[in-house]
């Protein structure tokens, strides 16, 4: 039977930002299959020009409301690289703890509110309030806890106030840190329940595989999240590393008409960033409890099903939770002191990278001798995933056609695929639209 399909999802729901899915199939032949990004462009790289180095992270944090902690940290790291500032050990620990808070917070939001409804056959979390009230309440409480944990260090989680080039402007007390640690310990049962929820839903994750290149930060010290060098792994296990300063050599941005966001590629036509890419690169360095979680959820490196990104996020929720308990213990033991901001030792150009929940993030700035910004460049994880999503579409649509799925089923599968990347389109500029033409 020859199929005609026309999908045109304008402004995909349950993703951050705006994206369209367009698929046209005539007599079983695919005429168009596009992932489009129509988000209104916002020109941040131009906005930072002429601003003082102390203001730049405050501006670029506004690229994204969900990963504003990550943007702040990538920005202060790039500015510190440009100004020859070394972070202290305490600053490094506090920033890492702040990063874990964001990772936990954002993954809880995605797993429970954005991804789970598809697996439960619901259009959103709201109809689940009467039927799955305890699960929704658990999700809201974990989200609230992560918000307060991040706020304890960053001042707030949406556009943090205290993380600055050179250190922090305010520090939590050991007492506050202890109380937060106790609150984390108190939700250990809710964490186990989260694993059970995901485990129960996992069989509903569509089977699909498309090997690609996976890019993430890698560090010899820890599972790459706050800091590291750039590493990519191919499906055959072949790894390559790049210095953060050379990020342009492995991102190779380009612009195409179906997107207001720039796209990227490296060793092959497209690569993936995000929790699954981090897992595929660095799974050996996960916290033992997170390794157990991966095993319990059946996640094995190198995982090539993009739908499993949500499972990798769940594994990282466990990792960030236990790593944070360890860091909190260390900080409580060593004490937390007020440290004056480290001052610039030079003025030039520098790049910084960190992992945000959705993948590797690069910022780069240059400064004049008055510390005023001459220009900047930001490469956001969702942009790095656009080309990979497009390639997934091109592989998934023929597979679904062969399975004789109908238009609605195909539309849902493509929407779920995009959601599994947890895209942040206002970050990338904005993204998603599926259309089938008959």
């Amino acid at each position: 039977m020859s199929q005609d399909i026309r999908i045109n999802v304008h402004h995909l729901t349950r993703v951050e930002g705006h994206g369209n899915i367009v698929v046209n199939v005539r007599s079983g032949k695919i005429e168009k299959c596009e992932w489009q990004v129509p988000e209104a462009p916002r020109f941040f790289e131009a906005m930072v020009r002429g601003r003082h180095y102390s203001e730049v992270a405050r501006i670029t944090s506004r690229i994204c409301g969900i990963c504003s902690i990550g943007h702040t940290l990538a920005s202060v790291k790039a500015t510190e690289a440009a100004l020859g500032i070394q972070e202290t050990e305490q600053t490094r620990k506090l920033r890492t703890l702040l990063k874990h808070a964001e990772n936990f917070d954002s993954h809880v939001l995605h797993v429970y509110f954005l991804a789970a409804p598809d697996l439960l056959g619901a259009p959103s979390v709201f109809p689940l309030v009467p039927t799955h009230g305890a699960v929704v309440a658990r999700a809201l409480n974990l989200k609230r806890l992560a918000h307060e944990w991040g706020s304890m260090i960053g001042g707030r989680t949406t556009h943090p106030t205290t993380a600055l080039p050179g250190g922090f402007s305010k520090w939590p007390t050991v007492k506050e840190m202890r109380l937060m640690r106790d609150r984390l310990v108190a939700v250990e049962g809710e964490l186990a329940a989260t694993l059970e929820t995901v485990k129960a839903l996992a069989p509903k994750i569509p089977p699909f595989a498309r090997p690609t290149e996976y890019m993430a930060l890698h560090s010899d010290q820890e599972y790459g999240l706050y800091d590291g060098v750039i590493q990519t792994v191919l499906p055959d296990g072949n790894k390559a590393t790049y210095a953060v300063a050379d990020y342009k050599k492995c991102t190779n941005e380009y612009l195409i008409p179906q997107s207001t966001a720039k796209w990227t590629k490296n060793r092959i036509d497209a690569y993936a960033a995000g929790a699954l890419a981090r897992f595929n690169n660095n799974h050996g360095q996960l916290h033992p409890n997170a390794k157990q979680a991966a095993e319990a959820l059946g996640l094995k490196a190198i995982a090539t099903n993009p739908f499993l990104n949500t499972v990798a996020q769940t594994v990282e929720i466990v990792h960030s939770y236990h790593e944070s308990l360890r860091l909190m213990d260390e900080l409580c033991k060593s004490g937390i002191k007020d440290e004056p901001l480290q001052k610039p030792t030079r003025y030039g150009q520098g790049a910084g990278a960190t992992e945000v929940p959705r993948g590797i993030l690069f910022h780069e700035y240059s400064y004049d001798t008055d510390g005023m910004c001459l220009g900047g460049n930001c490469i956001i994880p969702t942009n790095q995933n656009h080309a990979n999503i497009q390639q997934d579409f091109e592989a998934l649509v023929p597979t679904l056609l062969a399975q004789k799925v109908d238009e609605k089923e195909m539309e849902l599968a493509l929407e779920m695929l995009v959601r599994s990347y947890d895209p942040c389109i206002s970050c990338s500029t904005h993204f998603l639209d599926v259309t089938f033409v008959r």
Binding site: T13, R42, I63, N141
Partner: protein
């Protein structure tokens, strides 16, 4: 009686104000759902409707003519429109580029003329449609949003402070940034946030916009004399969040 229908919409923004809505925790969030029906919220739900709305919360700036029709459609459906966060209320951070003309070339270079990249000045949504109330700030203060909603549900007029941020610092007993050798826009910045930034050791950047008849010239002088800013830096300082509130911009937009 049916619960009032509330919907969220987004334009050019980071969608962080919508995220703030998920930070209330279980009890407050679930209690709110006892009083309103959230019928549309693209970032969190797939349900959509064409029904009339009681309250529309709109996040994001009006940056391209193509968005005007969508804004007008929302206005037609909604009894009350709330500009939700700085981007919608004043243009916010997006307006930081408004005084420049080469931003498109700078970001997209040789591709800058591709038609889908069209974008003009970042304006508050009130430049396209009538706005009834505003939840100011970047991000908006989530408790103020609850208060505005609560007032509206009870048929009361929400009260949003018009005094400067300095008042709130004094009330919290926060040491002045100038006394710490720093700078601050608190004297001309509109309050209502409870001044979290100076309390966290950083300057107020006036993310809620400027007070009425702000003495911008005096502010510039203070920035130069007390914080050692150059004339240029002092003059550009308030562009970060308040570009559309400055007297020079207001004048230009009138012409």
């Amino acid at each position: 009686m049916a619960k009032p229908k509330v919907a969220f919409f987004d334009f050019a923004s980071c969608e962080g104000c919508q995220i703030e809505f998920t930070n209330f925790g279980g009890p407050a969030f679930l209690e709110l759902l006892n009083h309103v029906d959230v019928v549309e919220f693209r970032e969190a739900m797939s349900e959509q409707t064409k029904d009339p709305l009681d309250i529309a919360l709109i996040e994001g700036s009006f940056t391209r003519e193509a968005d005007r029709a969508r804004l007008e459609e929302i206005r037609k459906r909604a009894k009350i429109v709330i500009a939700y966060g700085a981007c919608a209320a004043t243009g916010g951070i997006n307006a930081l580029k408004n005084h420049t003309t080469d931003y498109k070339d700078f970001v997209y270079q040789k591709d800058a003329r591709m038609p889908h990249l069209d974008s003009s000045q970042a304006l508050p949504i009130s430049a396209a449609i009538k706005v009834d109330y505003a939840a100011l700030g970047c991000p908006c203060n989530k408790y103020e949003v609850l208060q505005i909603l609560s007032h509206l549900l009870h048929g009361k007029e929400p009260v949003v402070p018009t005094f400067p941020v300095c008042v709130e610092c004094k009330r919290r007993e926060t040491v002045c940034r100038y006394a710490e050798g720093d700078h601050c826009l608190g004297p001309i910045a509109r309050a209502g946030c409870d001044a979290p930034c100076p309390a966290d050791g950083i300057p107020c950047e006036a993310c809620r916009g400027l007070v009425e008849q702000a003495n911008e010239a005096a502010m510039e002088k203070v920035l130069m004399q007390r914080a050692g800013f150059s004339k240029q830096r002092a003059s550009d300082k308030s562009r970060m969040f308040a570009a559309n509130c400055r007297a020079d911009t207001v004048q230009e937009q009138k012409q």
